[in-house]
């Protein structure tokens, strides 16, 4: 690599990208255990399970605490801890732990990856949902109560519809982070798109590494755009989305999740 600065460099890049294109064109890479469809399915299915589980755990408590306007400290702490927890480390710690509990009927590394992904997805979901419900204008909730709505109705008919775009933003942020990070499952034996990167590193095969990275990056972008589209559809206020960048991100602010 070191002496690559010579006139032929442009040709080298084109050759390399040609090899990557060749990898994608090879039918052998699209069938069987190590084929793209199979690994993509494993990658997306574990991501979906993790996001769904994290939503079930975090959204009800976040919505309740937002409704009663308590637990701000918990929300801030959760984000800080979530940001500081390295997913690679959680996978590494959970791997021997889950093996010891003999959760081996599932594919190797499945539970370790799943637990790490749930931990990754919870903080952004919790904080966005909490903020969304808490920041509904108190004048509106008071008016709703004045009209005779019960607490459950205030949540269901006022706070949830108004908070939905921000709640969805939390789910999108979490999902993109999970889709990016599930890649690490390959290092504990759970086949994902990261398997190409893992095997590529082990064999020093830069084409395979690059192809795996490209697949992961494309999946992350597709998830971001797809859930962003859903998010805009949920905005019933018709005021458009709040302009991004209008104010600085604070430690306690709505969260954009981190993604290795």
């Amino acid at each position: 690599m070191g002496d690559a600065v010579e006139p032929a460099e442009g040709g080298v890049v084109i050759d390399f990208l040609g090899e990557v294109a060749g990898w994608f064109a090879d039918p052998a890479n699209w069938t069987g255990n190590r084929g793209v469809p199979n690994l993509l399915l494993a990658h997306v299915s574990l991501s979906a399970v993790a996001v769904a589980a994290a939503a079930l755990i975090s959204l009800p408590s976040a919505i309740y605490l937002g409704h009663v306007r308590r637990g701000g400290f918990l929300a801030v702490s959760l984000v800080n801890i979530g940001r500081a927890l390295p997913s690679f480390g959680i996978v590494g710690v959970m791997y021997p732990v889950t093996l010891a509990f003999a959760l081996t009927r599932s594919p190797l590394g499945y539970w370790a990856t799943l637990i790490a992904m749930i931990l990754l997805a919870m903080p952004p979901m919790f904080v966005n949902a909490y903020t969304a419900i808490r920041d509904v204008d108190p004048a509106l909730t008071e008016a709703a109560r004045g009209m005779g709505m019960r607490e459950g109705q205030v949540v269901r008919r006022l706070e949830l519809p108004l908070g939905l775009p921000l709640i969805m933003a939390g789910i999108r942020s979490a999902a993109v982070a999970v889709v990016a990070t599930v890649t690490l499952g390959a290092w504990v034996g759970y086949g994902t798109l990261g398997t190409y990167i893992f095997v590529g590193f082990a064999q020093g095969d830069e084409v395979l590494i690059f192809a795996g990275g490209l697949l992961v990056a494309m999946l992350a972008v597709v998830t971001e755009l797809g859930l962003g589209w859903v998010e805009r559809r949920t905005d019933q206020t018709h005021h458009g989305r709040r302009r991004q960048g209008a104010r600085p991100l604070a430690i306690s602010d709505e969260v954009v999740a981190t993604r290795p």
Partner: protein, 215 residues
């Protein structure tokens, strides 16, 4: 399944050296990221129309997983420090630029009018008034960037760098809980410590906000 305290006692030297490596990787990324972000933020503030494309490009960089960025950079720079740092830096840009721009824009117009009335040039207003008043927002961004980067540095072991990722990767390979746990816990501890240091820096750098809080 228990923690091997003997192993920990035997590897204090390793912990020290990986801590230094981890910190250096982090400091380089955040420093370079901050310098680049300041330049880009100044461009965005001076030519307003450039803000949207700048946040778009840095947003795309933010969306691409850093593991994927590693894989794109390995064919170019190999398993090197440069590969690790380019990916880490690109991840900090969006966070930092947004906070710098929002912080500077958040300075009240009457403050800038008063500065101008005192005869300050635009350049002096920016450096002497807007930037200092934006410091809390900027440091908030640096805190997010730093804590995030410390977590991501655990991955740079995959492109041949040191740091706590060395413990984690070896722990995985040997299914050895203690080693993976040590790497993880040390990474969290460093994130907390750096965050606390930055909070202290903020209080030291913005004495006026402390005075206001006291009064």
């Amino acid at each position: 399944m228990t923690i091997d305290w003997g192993w920990i006692a035997d590897h204090v030297d390793d912990m020290w050296s990986t801590t230094v490596e981890h910190l250096i990787l982090t400091v380089i990324a955040v420093t370079v990221g901050l310098v680049l972000s300041l330049v880009l933020a100044i461009v965005a503030l001076r030519w307003r129309r450039s803000y949207a494309p700048i946040t778009w490009v840095t947003g795309v960089l933010y969306t691409i997983p850093s593991l994927a960025l590693f894989t794109f950079l390995v064919p170019v720079f190999g398993l090197s420090l440069l590969t690790a740092e380019v990916a880490l830096v690109s991840y900090t840009l969006l966070i930092l630029i947004r906070n710098i721009v929002a912080g500077v824009n958040g300075v009240p117009a009457h403050v800038i009018e008063a500065s101008r009335g005192m005869g300050m040039t635009d350049r002096r207003i920016f450096l002497g008034v807007q930037l200092p008043l934006a410091l809390p927002a900027i440091i908030a961004g640096v805190r997010i960037a730093a804590v995030t980067t410390i977590g991501l540095v655990t991955l740079t072991v995959l492109v041949g760098q040191g740091g706590y990722g060395v413990f984690i990767l070896r722990g995985i390979r040997r299914q050895f809980l203690t080693e993976a746990l040590v790497g993880t816990v040390l990474s969290v501890l460093m994130a907390v410590a750096v965050d606390v240091v930055l909070i202290v820096v903020e209080q030291w750098a913005t004495p006026w906000s402390r005075r206001r809080a006291a009064s």
